[in-house]
């Protein structure tokens, strides 16, 4: 049984207000049957230092990624993970995390690949919950295993691969990395050899909108009005556009994917999870350096 939606006024303005809950809503419904709370952080130890009572940790690196191939877990892997975390297919899942919900949005995107019917983000994430002095615990729950069904992952509608991006050149792309990563000046920093890409810059035609612009000071999402000002008025995107977002490994761009798809109601938004660690290391793909978007070259077949 899905839990009721949060009727908060700010959320109501979004295209899909049912994808978010406020901290007040979560505090009110915590512990109700059918609600499962998931924390997903950049820092693998953060949940252990204290978390929302009853929440389980889902780690993007060790639990959502396939341990061998650069891909996500498959249907069986996801079903096993959900069972281990005590999550049933019909549960309402609320995900929260650190860093303005950056990793939480990534986890939500992966849950969406498996079509989990009701998955929401906690607006403001971990930082807001803690800033409001709400209850936390270091006690680890002991989830009852569930019989979560094996559901085949559906990549096509919200995930873009390198070939999709090549075919998309000339279309709308959003680069959500820092300005220094966008221009390409951030690839050859002295002393730090593990930067991960052999070329710096961005995909031709990509607009630069650093992901955190969508977050307010307190880590909540900016209002619908503010988001429209950034993505629609400033960048000229329209809800009917076919948009691909990318970053370095697809985590920060999940946050932007969430904003465009669920808060602004864009119809076709894909996250390119290969992102710069794939593009910037790929032989003979077009790259633009510097602050200009650049022209997309003719598609090479």
């Amino acid at each position: 049984m899905a839990l009721p939606h949060d009727g908060d006024e700010k959320l109501a303005a979004y295209a899909h207000p049912e994808k978010l809950v406020t901290t007040a809503w979560l505090a009110e419904h915590l512990g109700e049957p059918g609600l499962k709370v998931v924390e997903s952080d950049e820092d693998v130890l953060l949940w252990d230092t204290g978390h929302v009572p009853g929440s389980v940790k889902v780690d993007w690196h060790t639990e959502l990624n396939d341990p061998v191939t650069r891909d996500y877990v498959d249907g069986e892997g996801f079903a096993a993970l959900m069972s281990r975390k005590g999550i049933a297919r019909e549960d309402t899942v609320v995900i929260y995390g650190d860093k303005n919900n950056w990793w939480a949005a990534y986890a939500l995107w992966v849950f969406t690949l498996f079509g989990h019917p009701d998955v929401r983000l906690l607006d403001g994430g971990r930082a807001k919950w803690i800033a409001e002095g709400r209850e936390t615990t270091t006690e680890a729950p002991e989830p009852q295993p569930t019989d979560y069904p094996v559901v085949e992952r559906q990549d096509a509608s919200i995930r873009a691969f390198k070939e999709d991006v090549l075919a998309h050149l000339g279309g709308r792309l959003i680069d959500v990395r820092s300005p220094q990563e966008y221009t390409g000046e951030r690839t050859h920093m002295p002393d730090y050899p593990e930067e991960g890409t052999v070329r710096g810059g961005h995909i031709p035609g990509a607009d630069s909108v650093p992901w955190a612009r969508a977050a307010a000071e307190d880590g909540t999402f900016r209002t619908r009005e503010e988001l429209e000002a950034i993505y629609q008025r400033e960048k000229g995107l329209a809800p009917a556009d076919d948009v691909i977002a990318y970053c370095r490994i697809g985590e920060r761009s999940s946050h932007t994917w969430f904003v465009l798809q669920h808060l602004l109601g864009f119809e076709k938004v894909r996250n390119y999870d290969g992102s710069w660690t794939e593009w910037g290391n790929t032989v003979r793909v077009p790259i633009v350096k510097g602050p200009d978007k650049g022209e997309a070259p003719a598609v090479r077949r």
Partner: protein, 155 residues
Amino acid sequence: MSAVDEDPFSPTAGLPPAMAEIVEDFQALPERERLQLLLEFSQGLPPLPPHLAEHPELLERVDECQSPVFVNVEVDDASRVHLHVSAPPEAPTTRGFAGVLREGLDGLPAEEVLQLPPDVCSRLGLEQAVSPLRMRGMTGMLARVKRQVRVATAS
């Protein structure tokens, strides 16, 4: 010295004793428990001494870390290194690595710190649990520690 210690591919190869001991402690545990040990190191990281806490400008920011992490290295009259790190409670993994570096390095001669292998943080056997991207910040922290030691000993 046993034959194992001389193995150039051993996780403790080329490490000073305190650091070698920490690496052995991690390696002796199953992977899941290694994270718990890292958590303990994060809890054991001491606050900055007053002379640094009151003068944050003396600390250098580690840009590679996502969180605001600052390091300061002092080299005393006996040419021994003292490491101070400030990392927020929201970054327990970073705090844990800082705690490892501090316990493994503090009081070592400057020479020995400079000779530490750059991959010391990846000797803890946490690659499976902590992603390579997260490890990048740790390598950055050690690089900055060494640079500060070089600056302090050059003058």
